[in-house]
Amino acid sequence: MTLADQDLKAAIAATRFGLGARPGEIAEARRDPHGFLRAQIRRDGADLPAGVATSSERLGEFREYQLEKRDARLQKAAMASGGDGKPADPDARDPVKVVGRMLRQDVGADFGARLQLAVTTGAGFRERWADFWANHFTVSATKAITGTVIGPYEAEAIRPNVFGRFTDLLGAVETHPAMLTYLDQVRSIGPNSRAAEYLKTGGNPRGVGRARLQRVANRSVGLNENLAREILELHTVGVNGGYSQADVTEFARAMTGLSVGGPRDPASETGTAVFRDPAHEPGERTVMGVRYRPGGKDQAGAILADLAAKPATATFVCTKIARHFVADEPSPALVARLEKAWTSSNGDLSRVAEALIAAPEAWAPTPAKFKTPYEFIVSSYRAAGAQPETFGKVAPILTALGQKPFSAPSPKGWPEDAQSWAAPDAIVKRMQFAQAFSAAAVRDRDPKALAADALGARLTPDTAKAVARAESRAEGFALLLMSPEFQRR
């Protein structure tokens, strides 16, 4: 490798594989860019953001909040029908509102902790790898209850498993309360299960109160196929993976019983994944041509394991990895390399990560990926060597740029392509962020040095010249952040 090659590779390691260079990072990667990345692969997973609560704590709190909210509503209705007619004080002392606000603050704090980790970590590749999987297995705060456990979900199901086997990651994700609530698995009941029979005949499986039972009876009881469909379409074999509507329905039947512990369950199960045998659809299932014996929760587990091992899953997921790291339309040769590593290791994600680092296509000199808003903001903070501002300041910016924290618009997750993010309005809003951020972040530092640190050999003469000619430090730094090469990776 020539010296110039070495310089360029160091810059690519920090900016394309990583989350953008902090001052000194490119110099650190320069000695051995491949080794710098390989050293970030860690069997026991990605780093955990600081201070994230557990799912069961959060869901327990959310449940209490819902009950309080209902009580408050009933109380209000009672007052309106016979009381003095004076409405409850709508101000901040309303305890229900206070709890609601605290829940939202928790979600904000979780995102803040994640941002803090992304901005400060020395292992940017490891963190980007975790981000990729969190987006592949999207859950979203567009559903309020799910929002409260996204931080815990990433810490419990995603991060420990991102350098392990895909089948373990898949199993952890699809049985996590965040996914079960997000994709409506929680109340999916086998139409011929014992629970359905009880409910249809007015029975009472667990000593429930009459009013609640009536509410349950008013709802029809049965399957919800949302999670089953998205596992096939988005998490494993992909939409062209060779499954039919009948496969979706059969898979949904096999998954019935999988739920989240609520107030009627033992306290130790609150907010954790549980398997309710009485709600499980009895019998044999056939999914994608394979017959699965009756077997409670093992039935869905066996289907998930088979899906994880399918060649279509390797192709679908490896294509997404290549698309995320290298190009919106990745080369078939690169995808084939990743697939080979996947197949020969039975889906060992450490081996896939190594194959990505070793692939020559991943080091193409021209940056083909346009940064998402999150990547742009994180890399801007890293370039400034800054500690992140409080979440409160970053959240509105990401929202204006179209990437509201923890709130992907659909189970497909955030888009990865330039066309989605480079709309005219989005570029203007990035410019506005760069202006405001630079004014606050640059202080007395030399933007020319910051530019060299942030982009290394990727800095073009045009941008270097524009930064050098800027009339203020802030203007110079803003030009760096908005430069064509900083906007890409």
């Binding site: 567009t142 994709l183 409506d184 109340r187 999916s188 009941i189 139409p191 008013n218 709802r219 029809s220 009881v221 049965g222 399957l223 919800n224 196929e225 949302n226 469909r229 379409e233 988005l234 939409v239 509507q245 346009f370 929202t399 204006a400 740029l401 179209g402 618009p409 659909s410 189970p411 497909k412 888009p415 330039a418 066309q419 989605s420 993010w421 480079a422 709309a423 005219p424 309005d425 989005a426 570029i427 203007v428 809003k429 410019m431 506005q432 760069a434 202006q435 045009d462 941008t463 524009a466 800027a470 009339e471 203007e475 803003a478 030009l479 908005m482 430069s483 064509p484 906007q487």
Partner: protein, 416 residues
């Protein structure tokens, strides 16, 4: 590029922004042959509202006169609360503005329309809806972008998307504008000008920034007009006990519609626009979810109608979704992915009339694959009808370019 920079001194606020506007304009004039436009056609406007997540047609326009409806929908049936429309159909109670327009002959429903896609995947179906292709992955640009390209051969046409990200329907060869609410650009700074210079060889960022700055210029007067002229809301005002959060959401939605309309009324403003509304995937607790989403949509539509003022008579709005939902209620108070759904047509340019397309009914043997509303109309035919008769696009161009290989999907004629 340098020609737009003032020859000396720092550019002024309006100078920079207007310079950018000029830049965008210059590109248009180079790309588009100048052909004398029919003045009437040039005023015509079309707005596409995309409702993402699979909007439940049986809730938008519940077929309360269909004998099967109540049984299939159980607790979700809207027989008691639907707003009256005709003998078979009602409208969802949250669609008060749409109902008022329907009563004035300015809104119609298309109750069983679907794209050619049958996979029941959101993402595949949205791709097909927006690319206008016969199948998934067969086109990478949006049909509305190709329509703008074809119209531009005859007259100057501008297009705008509203929202922070660009919807696929407007992506493609023609650089279109995009806008979302936010702070005004600080045009005292030199940054916009310096960046345009830095982007001079960048095929992605150069045109995008120029267009974004031009739209900012327009936004200043488009949204100023809106503030100056408050307009009355159609339909029933929300009841007095509506929670503040819901009220604020409705106001924000209405002002989004007003802003979009403001752009379309500007001289040189867009005649073609697209806006996406998210969150219609109602697998569980559908009643509450759709109440909120449809109230939001109703307010956006009301904002568009009142913001367009006298231009409403030149406008057709199409509201469409990627697919409908199962005819039966599911086990969790919602519905799962289905096939045909309801589209809405609104606008002062519409002819009065009943439903568009046939109603297949909900009889067991009429359901598609024993679960969904069966499609009686190809979504492309609906779009083609609007583009042909309202916007004056040629049938051959529609069949081959805007909607590739779609000759079999005949345009729905007589809508305008």
């Amino acid at each position: 590029m340098n020609a737009i920079l003032p020859s000396r001194g720092l550019p002024t606020r309006r100078g920079v922004l207007a310079g950018a506007a000029g830049f965008g304009l210059a590109l248009e004039l180079i790309a588009v042959p100048a052909v004398a436009a029919d003045a009437d056609l040039a005023r015509r406007k079309v707005i596409v509202v995309i409702c993402r997540g699979g909007m439940d047609g049986l809730s938008v326009a519940p077929p309360i006169g269909d004998p099967e409806y109540q049984g299939l929908r159980g607790a979700l049936a809207l027989n008691k609360t639907a707003l009256p429309l005709d003998g078979t159909f009602g409208l969802h109670p949250a669609l008060a503005s749409v109902q008022a327009l329907a009563q004035a002959g300015e809104a119609r429903i298309v109750p069983a329309v679907a794209t050619p896609d049958r996979a029941r995947s959101h993402f595949e179906a949205q791709d097909v809806l927006e690319t206008g292709a016969a199948g998934v992955y067969s086109a990478s640009s949006g049909w509305l972008n190709r329509a703008v390209e074809a119209l531009s051969a005859h007259r100057k046409v501008e297009a705008l998307s509203v929202g922070a990200t660009a919807p696929l329907i407007l992506r493609g060869k023609v650089q279109t504008a995009s806008w979302s609410p936010g702070r005004a650009v600080d045009a005292e700074a030199r940054l916009p000008t310096l960046l345009q210079d830095l982007y001079r060889n960048d095929p992605l960022l150069g045109p995008a920034l120029a267009r974004g700055l031009a739209t900012e210029v327009m936004a200043q007067s488009a949204t100023a007009d809106m503030a100056a002229k408050p307009t009355a809301m159609m339909g029933q005002p929300p009841p007095a006990n509506t929670p503040q959060r819901v009220r604020q959401g409705r106001e924000a939605a209405r002002s989004l519609g007003l802003s979009l309309a403001g752009f379309m009324r500007e001289p040189g403003g867009p005649q073609v626009a697209a806006i996406s509304l998210d969150g219609f995937d109602s697998h569980a607790n559908q009643a509450g979810l759709l109440n909120t989403r449809l109230a939001y949509m109703d307010a956006v539509l009301d904002g568009i109608r009142s913001g367009l003022g006298p231009e409403w008579k030149n406008t057709v709005v199409v509201v469409a979704t990627e697919f409908g939902r199962t005819a039966r209620i599911n086990g969790t108070g919602g519905t799962d992915h289905g096939t045909a759904s309801t589209a809405l047509l609104l606008g002062g340019a519409l002819k009065t009339g009943g439903i568009v397309g046939d109603w297949p009914t909900l009889r067991a043997n009429a359901l598609f694959e024993n679960r969904d509303v069966a499609p009686t109309l190809d979504m492309r035919g609906l779009f083609k009808g609007v583009l042909a008769e309202h916007m004056g696009l040629d049938r051959a161009v529609l069949d081959k370019t805007v909607f590739p290989d779609s000759a079999a999907a005949k345009p729905v004629l007589g809508l305008v």
